[in-house]
Subunit: 205 residues, 2 copies
């Protein structure tokens, strides 16, 4: 059985989206700034059907993490925001489980991505994602609420934070008070690529 | 003229003190956890009149930064909390300027630390600290409010954050909304020592 790993970009002041986010501007004001670093990576571009991009150590790590992942879990809000931009061929190319309160049948897209809408909670979502992933890992793509729920329940094996050196001054925080109330981590990666710091942590239980 | 550099320990969820802080427990619940890494450093121990401690790259960087600093600025709350614990010989061994609304004459302690209480604002405090520091740097020791004021006014040349891999779940945040509203930094240091990640940034104006 694989591990469960969350991967997310965060500003220095702790936000994963900027102020005044809406369904149309899901990342809020200047929130796109948090993802600029990834658009240049060859691994990201290839998943989006784009040529070229930068290679190197971080690109290889991202590519390997992606190849080792057999299913992804996301929140309902992330789905609502990104379904349009993702288009007919979303960049997952694997089963994606959406944590939601709205029942809906599976939604198959081109390129191997099928969205499954799970209405009976985090534990059931994880069980279904594990089954779909087989020996591979389960990725937790966000948003903040889903990652917090995984942390609170002790379900996360690894947390990868890409720290972008900007202050957004407001928006959606990755960590809200008491979500969880207290937790310690072991540092498992500290790396840098242009304009971003890559940090990995494992909860120490 | 030297630079103006802030130096502070922060939890992964962005707090510089834990929940429910009081004058008696100024760092709040588990806030001391953020400073454990520094107590082991030879540079810190020597300033506190203690023998031994760990050496190495980070210790040398901290020691050099300290030796290049000619005056320190702190907030009134930090003074109130720490004056007792600092004892008769505070660990600064230099002039310390306290940003406050309460007028008070200079307070000379043993070992070269004199506290000056400045009631006419940040700009005046910095001018006095610069004059006292001469060719050396001015350090900004915290708390969060003072560092935010320096950021908002564009008075900070360097920001050193020691990121401790814990979630405190509440407390005092280093970065509050709109303090400042938006800001970009260049990454100037990414380093690791046991249980802490050392990050340095320069505002890009």
């Amino acid at each position: 059985m694989g591990i469960v790993a969350a991967d997310i970009s965060m500003s220095l002041d702790g936000y994963i989206a900027g102020p005044n986010d809406t369904l149309e501007q899901g990342l809020g004001e200047r929130g796109e700034r948090l993802h600029e670093w990834v658009y240049e990576l060859a691994a990201w571009r290839s998943r989006h059907g784009l040529p070229g991009g930068t290679t190197g150590s971080i690109n290889e790590q991202m590519d390997e993490a992606y190849k080792n992942t057999g299913a992804t879990i996301i929140g309902r809000r992330m789905f609502d925001i990104a379904e349009g931009p993702w288009g007919d061929e979303p960049p997952f190319h694997m089963p994606v489980f959406v944590v939601t309160h709205r029942a809906r049948g599976p939604l198959a897209k081109q390129g191997g991505t099928t969205f499954y809408f799970v209405t009976d909670g985090i534990d059931s979502t994880l069980a279904q994602a594990r089954a779909a992933a087989g020996e591979k890992n389960v990725g937790v793509g966000g948003g903040a609420s889903v990652i917090q729920q995984f942390l609170v329940r002790g379900l996360l094996d690894e947390l990868h934070i890409h720290l972008v050196p900007v202050l957004l001054g407001g928006g959606r925080r990755l960590f809200e008070p008491d979500s969880p109330p207290y937790m310690e981590f072991e540092i498992t990666r500290v790396a840098q690529s242009p304009g971003v710091i890559h940090l990995s942590f494992q909860p120490t239980r």
